[in-house]
Amino acid sequence: MEHLGGITVSDGIAVGVAVILGSVERDTPELQVSRSRVPRELDRFEGAVRDVAQDIEELRERTKATLGNDAGSIINTYLMFLQDEVSILRPIRSLISEQRWEAASAVVRRFRDLMEELRGLPEPLPSRIPDLLDIQRRLVDKLQGVTATTHAGKLPRNSVIIADDLTPTQTAALDRQHVIGIATAHGGPVSHTAILARHLGIPALVGLGSELGRVAAGTPVIVDGFHQRLVVEPTAPAVRNARARLRRLKNRALRAVGAARTRSGTMLEIFVNIDSDESIKSLKSLGIAGVGLHRTEYLYLGRDHTPTEDEQTAHYTRILKAMAPKPVVIRTMDFGSDKWDPRIHSLREPNPALGLRSLRLSFAYGEIFKTQLRALLRASIHGNAHILFPMVSDAEEFARARACLTEAASGLQAEGVSFREAVPTGAMMELPVTALVGESLFAEADFISIGSNDLIQYALAVDRTNRDVADLFVPHHPGVLKLLDMAARTARRFNKPITVCGEMAGLGLYTPVLLGLGLTRLSMAPSRVRDIVEETRRCDDEACRALVQRMLEAPGPQAAGRALRAHHEGGRRSTRRD
């Protein structure tokens, strides 16, 4: 039995077997084979090239279907590398046949040389290196028998996915029938993958480090979210103990929560964030105020075609009907940055977080956007729909998004299709600048939602998935709090509802801070509701306001953090769920 320490990003316990996904970093192969093995290695190489080409063709078709022909043609270049006889295929074949390198070793050697050559050339040539790396990785994965994508049918039951890192696409495509846990070597606590794991209710550990690479496929493992560790080859008593804790947890989660009321009597409105319509029925019995954020990206990801207007209408209708008459805030597609297939964006954008993402991307791919807006309008008659536009920078951009909605509405009207006339439309505040120019925006929008993750990323210039700077991603930075304070005040002045729906809303640590700022509408993962309701009951309004004042006046995040910890320690002994 061995323990690997990591960071829990999605609570819970999973007892299962390791399934290696993608490439956990492995040593560069340096193997030579006997002369008699050469023909076999050549065959393996040709087979890997064929398989990878086929994977890439599939990826191209999926990409074309979702993002259009332009994006698909970028992937064509990938295929050309795999057809490059002169620089790639022939040299690798001769490394195998003449120097007797094992196929994967030959691939790595040739690509290393090519990348070395590109590195010495002027831009933009070095920027093709990631493409080569990706192709090399795919070839080596094939040759070493690592599954690059998971197909539900191939996964054993009780799979614990072990990976270097998971893209949100990979996470979204995971089959919940079979995948019960996730463990990655890299990744941070607030990466999109972590968020998604939480929403899928899959226990997940990240940051387990390179030692994770030693875990072999098929090894029994326990993901222990409460002790922040992965147990490799657990003993029988350890397995029994984990199973018993798992049963207790399941019984607890099914009990409904009561009202979120502070000691001073202030009521919080608790909403949930959802990605799919899977668990929608059970949510209603949780006693929540509604759906505060339905992310629609996963409707598009992990499937082979762009969802049609009818498919989307049916999906939104299911959710609206299930929740009616409670409000359901549906955010229009928010692609880009780390949420979309990195191969598409990294090819074009050196800095995707500042690139063509979110609402900008929706404007650029107007047809896909319009299809979604039409579907939302058509579904709107079945419940209390609210439409939310992501990453709105100012009132002008909001007006442009709203004009797209109006255009979709006139189209439907002309066709005699029914829809609700006045669907409330809101803006997501994720850029610091949006808080600064809030007045004109709040005058226009029917409601505002604060996406705290992006707001913090852009305010502090910290990529939360970059391990080297992840500890600088601090929600309680006085500057961040100032932006939240500004937004809360503006919302009160215009009497518009404002909801916090980033990770901050679901972390009990920050409940007193949000309360103190007067932000009393919070939207979070369903699994976080119970903790936040319990935390709210411990809060005293006056003490929370005083805390926020101290934090706003703090010279930096450390002093603000000390004030926050002192508040929690003073109020109670911290309690754990385990």
Partner: protein, 91 residues
């Protein structure tokens, strides 16, 4: 390639020169012919069916590109490539 069956020379027109997309288009076009096609720029040359080689020629606007082909459809190949370049790669 000592003697080519067909040769054509054309000036690179598009603003960004021979970057990724034009390189890919050259390879795609060359691959649709059976002829062996070389792209020569001054003393350097590349096999037009190798994306790596074409890409590494990375040439700015105004460069003189010489396509030399050998094989059955050599004439058709160089003329297709020349019109691709002359048309600015459809940019």
């Amino acid at each position: 390639m000592t003697t080519a069956d067909a040769t054509v020379s054309v000036t690179l027109q598009n603003a960004q020169g021979l970057h990724a997309r034009p390189s890919a288009l050259i390879v795609k076009t060359a691959n649709s012919f059976s002829a062996k096609v070389q792209l020569r720029i001054g003393a350097r040359s590349a096999d037009c069916k190798s994306i790596m080689e074409v890409m590494m020629l990375a040439s700015p606007r105004g460069t003189e590109l010489v396509f030399e082909a050998r094989g059955n459809d050599a004439a058709a190949a160089v003329s297709a490539l020349a019109s691709l370049v002359a048309g600015g790669f459809g940019e």
